[in-house]
């Protein structure tokens, strides 16, 4: 049934449909609508689940780890500082090989306090062993959250579903909400890999010596290497039942594109309009929407970008002392190819600043009019007066 839903509530609906049994969370703007709705589902009996209101995000992740280790399907949601505060336990969840699903609303980190869109919060959790999916709209959020449980339980790794603060979390859109029967067909009850059991006592997550630690880490990587093919199978099954799929990334008019814009999240939607307009003007523009970030779909990135003359990456995130994070990753995917397009890195829209069609067109023309990309990222739309007022 089609409903007009907030992006946040697309998550909540998916969690309800996934028959999650245990949810633990701590409130942070702009994640609150997700957990408020789930809380209401638990309170009115719509969900047969326990909602554990803990005193911090660190505890929220520790609690879902405890629950998932005891054989129940578990979920949490957070944003920004909350995700940063969870950092230690993010490693714990993946090291423990637990199929936990989390929604993170991409929000800027302070100081200064800023509640608006910035993807550095989750991108700086890159090395924690979590699968990451950046979503573009409410439908993709709902579908990806459902798929996340299947995928997590298939490879025994945790999955993070990302949605842009406000532009997605607080935007209402028509979303197809599937029937419970269909979802049950797609997502069977959890069959846990491990489960604490007094009849069969063992210790988990204990000390491990150098003689075994590396093999444990390597097995996480082996599980990561399964993700691309498993996700593809899961999406095919999803499509059979629900009639839609989104892909681990999406190439829009990339086949003959001379310049490809690459970006993640809601900015991809704006890019769709921009490349349509540019095509009308005779420009051969394409879009590569980046969705799966870990594991990194290197082969597909190479396939879609390999034939372009230039690639322009729009990063709503930044790694200080280096560059935009998606730009870095795209460069590393291409670097071992003999023929590869130059990669132009742009940083735009940090801390919720608008990235308008005009911004993206400006990026397109800058890319077209320059032949050699700068090593550092180009920051778009800076107010030089402010920059100079804070200069060293």
């Amino acid at each position: 049934m089609k409903k007009v839903l907030e992006g946040s509530h697309a998550v909540s609906e998916a969690v309800r449909l996934a028959r999650v049994q245990m949810i633990s969370a701590y409130p942070i703007t702009p994640q609150t609508h997700i957990v408020e709705a789930i809380s209401a589902f638990c309170a009115d009996g719509t969900m047969n689940a326990r909602f554990l209101c803990v005193e911090s995000e660190h505890s929220a992740m520790a609690a879902v780890i405890g629950a998932a280790s005891s054989g129940v399907r578990a979920f949490t949601a957070t944003s920004s500082h909350g995700l940063a505060y969870m950092h230690e336990l993010l490693h714990w969840a993946s090291g423990a090989r637990l199929p936990i699903v989390m929604a993170d609303v991409n929000r800027a980190l302070g100081p200064g306090w800023n509640i608006w869109l910035d993807q550095t919060d989750s991108l700086s959790q890159r090395d924690t062993g979590w699968i990451q999916f950046y979503c573009e709209d409410g439908q993709e959020v709902l579908d990806t959250t459902l798929q996340a449980f299947r995928l997590a339980e298939s490879v025994n790794l945790p999955v993070m579903v990302l949605l842009d603060a406000f532009f997605l979390s607080h935007t209402y859109e028509p979303v197809e909400v599937p029937d419970q029967e269909q979802v049950d067909q797609f997502l069977p009850p959890l069959s846990p890999r491990i489960q604490l059991d007094t009849a069969n006592p063992f210790a988990i997550y204990q000390m491990v010596a150098p003689s075994a630690y590396m093999e444990m880490r390597y097995n996480i990587q082996l599980a990561m290497e399964l993700v691309t093919s498993r996700f593809s199978e899961i999406e095919d099954e999803f499509e059979t039942i629900f009639g839609r799929k989104h892909g681990p990334l999406e190439a829009v008019q990339c086949e003959d594109a001379e310049i490809i814009l690459a970006t993640a999240g809601t900015t991809a939607s704006t890019c769709r309009h921009v490349i349509t307009d540019l095509r009308k003007k005779g420009e051969k523009a394409g879009l590569l929407k980046l969705k799966m970030f870990r594991p990194y779909p290197t082969d597909q990135i190479r396939r879609h970008l390999g034939q372009a003359q230039k690639v322009a990456v729009i990063d709503r995130n930044f790694s200080f002392g280096a560059s935009g994070i998606f730009a870095q990753e795209i460069k590393s995917a291409l670097c071992n190819k003999d023929v590869r397009p130059p990669v132009f890195g742009y940083v735009a829209g940090l801390g919720g600043r608008d990235v308008t069609p005009q911004t993206l067109e400006e990026i397109y023309w800058q890319t077209k009019n320059n032949n050699i990309p700068k090593d550092e990222s180009v920051w778009i739309g800076l107010n030089q007066e402010l920059v100079e007022s804070w200069s060293n």
Binding site: Q21, S59, A63, G66, E88, T198, P201, F202, A203
Partner: protein, 291 residues
């Protein structure tokens, strides 16, 4: 004192990695005798993270979930929630943290858990410093103690945090102290805690540490006993945060306890008198609460 029959079942195996005379290992042995095999243990970073043995071994015959330093209260809550959802309300969830994982880094998560009145038993086995990392001071380290981060004349100048009072202030159904030199009392308290199922129960166990306290291992239990006999570590219970019961009245001077331990060896008679005054003050406050 009433003599209890000590259960013969043991859930701790020989070969655990405790130091000789480790009070924390005796504490676990006694606790599990009382709680039995239907217990799941949560252990944050602590000496017990080592005592429980590295992969692929375990020194306990009950399941253990090891968790991050700050997270014992929350991890135990998550396990409790999952057990309840699976229809298992019988199994005891035992959070077993050291003083760091209780008084310091774990305090927030413990406070959150007991404020929710989680149906778990939370234990602090308190060896009064970060012993596993080489004897650094914690907020459980008593006034007057030398540690590796309060060395020489920079011995600890502030008092030990009163953790039982802090937990009792959460108005939990049961908070108590216990000591490995009083095994009947300790087993009785763990049995009582088990029977008071339904809410949060907290037991503060003084866990003597020959390594960090700088005492010979063979007097580990004797030193523990002296902590009670000198009223440095009184044995008492608090029900619902308000009803106090005293289990033992000590009558010896603190010097008997302090002089056996290398960590207090630097103290002058004046400083020992000051500690006696502090202990008397705390004891009188406790007596008032007992009524």
């Amino acid at each position: 004192m009433e003599q209890l029959e000590i259960p013969s079942d043991d859930y701790i195996n020989p070969g655990h990695l405790g130091c000789p005379g480790c009070g924390a290992s005796i504490a676990m042995k006694l606790a599990l005798k009382a709680l039995g095999g239907k217990t799941i243990v949560v252990i944050p970073a602590s000496c017990w993270g080592v005592l429980a043995a590295p992969y692929p071994q375990s020194s306990l015959d009950v399941p253990i979930l090891h968790t991050a330093f700050a997270a014992a209260g929350a991890a135990a809550s998550g396990i409790r929630a999952a057990l309840d959802l699976r229809g298992d309300t019988e199994t005891t969830v035992l959070s077993w943290a050291g003083d760091g994982g209780t008084f310091d880094i774990g305090f927030q998560s413990l406070s959150g858990a007991v404020e929710r009145n989680e149906d778990c038993i939370f234990v602090c086995y308190d060896n009064e410093a970060y012993m596993n990392t080489g004897v650094q001071r914690s907020s459980a380290t008593p006034f007057g103690t030398q540690t590796t981060t309060t060395p020489g004349q920079d011995w600890k100048k502030t008092r030990k945090k009163n953790i039982v009072e802090a937990l009792a202030a959460h108005r939990i159904p049961y908070a108590a102290t216990a000591n490995v030199a009083f095994p009947e009392d300790m087993i009785g308290k763990f049995q009582k805690a088990k029977d008071l199922k339904g809410g949060s129960r907290f037991i503060h166990v003084l866990a003597s540490c020959p390594t960090g306290w700088r005492v010979p291992s063979e007097i580990s239990v004797k030193v523990s006993r002296l902590a009670v006999q000198t009223n440095v570590f009184p044995l008492y219970e608090v029900q619902d945060g308000t009803t106090y019961t005293l289990n033992y009245k000590g009558n010896r001077g603190v010097k008997d306890y302090l002089q056996l331990q290398g960590r207090f060896k630097h103290l002058t008679d004046e400083q020992i008198d000051r500690i006696q005054t502090q202990v008397d003050e705390d004891w009188n406050l406790l007596l008032k609460k007992v009524g």
